[in-house]
Amino acid sequence: MPDADERLLVEAAQRDPSRFAALYERHFDRVYAYVVHRVRNRDAAEDVTSEVFHKALAGLRRYEWRGAPFGAWLIRIAANVIIDRSKRVAREVVDSDQVPESTTEPDVMLVDQWAHVFRLIETLPADQRTVIVERYIEERSIREVAARLGKSEGAIKQLQFRALHMLRTRMEGADA
């Protein structure tokens, strides 16, 4: 991410908050990937991510460009939100089924890799993307997805296979 570009986007959003959407688009996947590594629960990940971006928007004018990338600032906000949250959760009655939140910082390489996967999902052809969302994100069976989309189970498997293949190819391309 070229810093000069990023700096323009940040300064534009500081002047006009409605320009914040561009920063959101640019950083959503990485923030979400970071958060989901720390909290391991979809609802909690959504709550935290939402809080991070609202805090960033509200505090945007306080953000100063001193060489620290904007993305790093967002991750710092995310880390603080998660700490505040775990303090709050610790004071409440602990749900025995709840997966404990990770207290250690996740591997940056892994966060970046996942963020990249999240971004690539958005670029899949619509039918493949739908199958990925239904199968992995909504965690539905092949049969359920076939019924919901009015396609044969074979067709769903085929779309899933092609989507995974495309994602893998693109990820490897990125690594090369």
Partner: protein, 456 residues
């Protein structure tokens, strides 16, 4: 399944991928928050410094098209849209630093739009840096100018447009800041140049609100006809700026304007005929005189079941005269004048709606048959009544020209344009002492709205 040993790193990442709906919802939430911040932090000029508490909610027919229009016309930014059942009951747009809400109209639930109400009385003011640029942009996007841009005494340059959905927008550019006291001074100075018309003086003596204005090939022949047949008295005859004749003729308690050419001065302009309901003391005698003066018979005198003795003739210029004598206390029925215009529109309702919106017509009476055909309607404008019966058989539409005296010709002209009329001539002072303007309605009738500014 997420912990299946066969799952590789890619699939694990996919299980943790964000829900598309969450990604989109958070973005929309942030945009709304950002829009509110824009309002809260605006610090320039005379615009709002606080987050807005009152927000207009526009109802429109075809919300997606309206959002598209406001984007092109006023540079609106869509902040959010909520769709349900294939329509948009709620959307939020940011225009400049202000929010407006809009949604699909739903008259059946008590949310009518301008289209179903026949217009909007509210105008939203758009404060802009360059009114002329904004006006041109709005018009290019499909807005209709209802009031051209003009510099106002209170320091603004303003103009008004009506959008394709019926909402009214006043485009305003502040050119000069002044106190309210200064505004009063400027208004007084302006009025000093021309006294404001009073209720008594806006109409010349002898004229009703509505005066039919005929234009025919041979005006002297028609004047002669109404004089001989109906006892008309010529009150004035001039040569107009277009080279044609203009005459005022008194018939009973009413005036009739007759214009056009003469045998020695052919008239090349449009001709205007109409049909009249003319109340006289003796229908039979008037019918005889009319026929002797050259009229053709439409219907010989007969007693009508609605309480009139009536006959019908057509004069040589093409006007139709329903001569009548009311069988009541007076031969002119209560509320009517001697001379009343009788229209035969294809459909009466839209014409009545136009007259109501444009000229404040009221006291509408309608007589419809069970099949919905309006056989007879009376519509009051000011002190006059225009009658009509929907076209059928030999009674076909005859677009008519009217001269209307109103307290404020400029305002009537604006209202007529907002009601869908087309401008023929913007308001202007005339040498004969009236300030008038001309419009043409969608039914083909032509209306001159006038205010007397100098007693004649």
């Amino acid at each position: 399944m997420p912990d299946s040993p066969r799952m590789d790193w890619l699939e694990r990442a996919l299980f943790d991928a964000p829900r598309p709906a969450f990604r989109a919802r958070l973005k929309s939430d942030l945009e709304r928050t950002a829009a509110a911040m824009t309002l809260a932090t605006e610090t320039t000029g005379t615009t709002a410094r606080v987050r807005q508490s009152a927000t207009p909610q526009l109802r429109v027919k075809n919300a997606p098209a309206a959002i598209d229009f406001y984007t092109r016309a006023f540079g609106a930014r869509e902040i959010m849209r909520f769709e349900a059942g294939g329509s948009i009951p709620h959307a939020e747009l940011l225009i400049g630093n202000s929010l407006i809400f809009l949604g699909e109209e739903a008259p059946e639930y008590g949310y009518p739009g301008p289209a179903s109400l026949g217009g909007s009385p509210v105008s939203i003011q758009l404060l802009v840096d360059d009114a002329d640029v904004m006006m041109a942009q709005a018009v290019a996007a499909g807005a209709r100018v209802t009031s051209p841009l003009a510099d106002q005494f209170y320091g603004d340059r303003t103009g008004r447009v009506t959008d394709p959905f019926g909402h009214s927008w006043t485009i305003v550019m502040r050119k000069e800041e002044m106190s309210v006291e200064e505004m009063y001074r400027r208004m007084a100075a302006m009025q000093g140049e021309r006294p404001a018309p009073t209720a008594e003086s806006f109409r010349p003596e002898g004229f009703h609100t509505v005066t039919p204005y005929l234009v025919v090939a041979d005006a002297p022949a028609l004047i002669d006809f109404v004089t001989r047949a109906f006892g008309g008295e010529e009150r004035s005859r001039d040569i107009g700026p277009g080279g044609g004749i203009h005459a005022d003729v008194q018939i009973g308690d009413s005036r009739l304007m007759i214009g056009g050419g003469a045998p020695e001065a052919p008239w090349r302009g449009q001709r205007w005929n109409t049909a009249f309901h003319l109340y006289l003391k003796d229908t039979d005698a008037a019918f005889e005189r009319a026929v002797q003066a050259g009229a053709t018979v439409l219907q010989a005198p007969a007693d009508m079941e609605y309480g009139e003795r009536s006959a019908g003739v057509k004069d040589a210029s093409g006007n139709v005269w329903y001569i009548a004598t009311a069988m009541g206390a007076s031969y002119v029925p209560e509320g009517l004048h001697s001379l009343n215009v009788y229209l035969h529109p294809h459909r009466a309702e839209p014409l009545i709606a136009f007259m109501t919106r444009a000229f404040g017509a009221d006291k509408v009476e309608k007589y419809a048959s069970p099949d919905g055909i309006i056989h007879h309607a009376r519509v009051r404008i000011g002190d006059s009544v225009i009658e009509m019966g929907e076209a059928r058989g030999p009674y076909q539409p005859m677009p008519t020209q009217f001269y209307l005296y109103v307290p404020n010709a400029d305002a009537a002209y604006q209202r007529a344009l907002e009601a869908g009329a087309e401008s023929i001539r913007p308001p202007a002072d005339q040498p004969y002492g009236d300030r008038n303007a001309g419009v043409k309605d969608v039914f083909g009738n032509q209306w001159f709205v006038a205010t007397q500014i100098r007693p004649r």
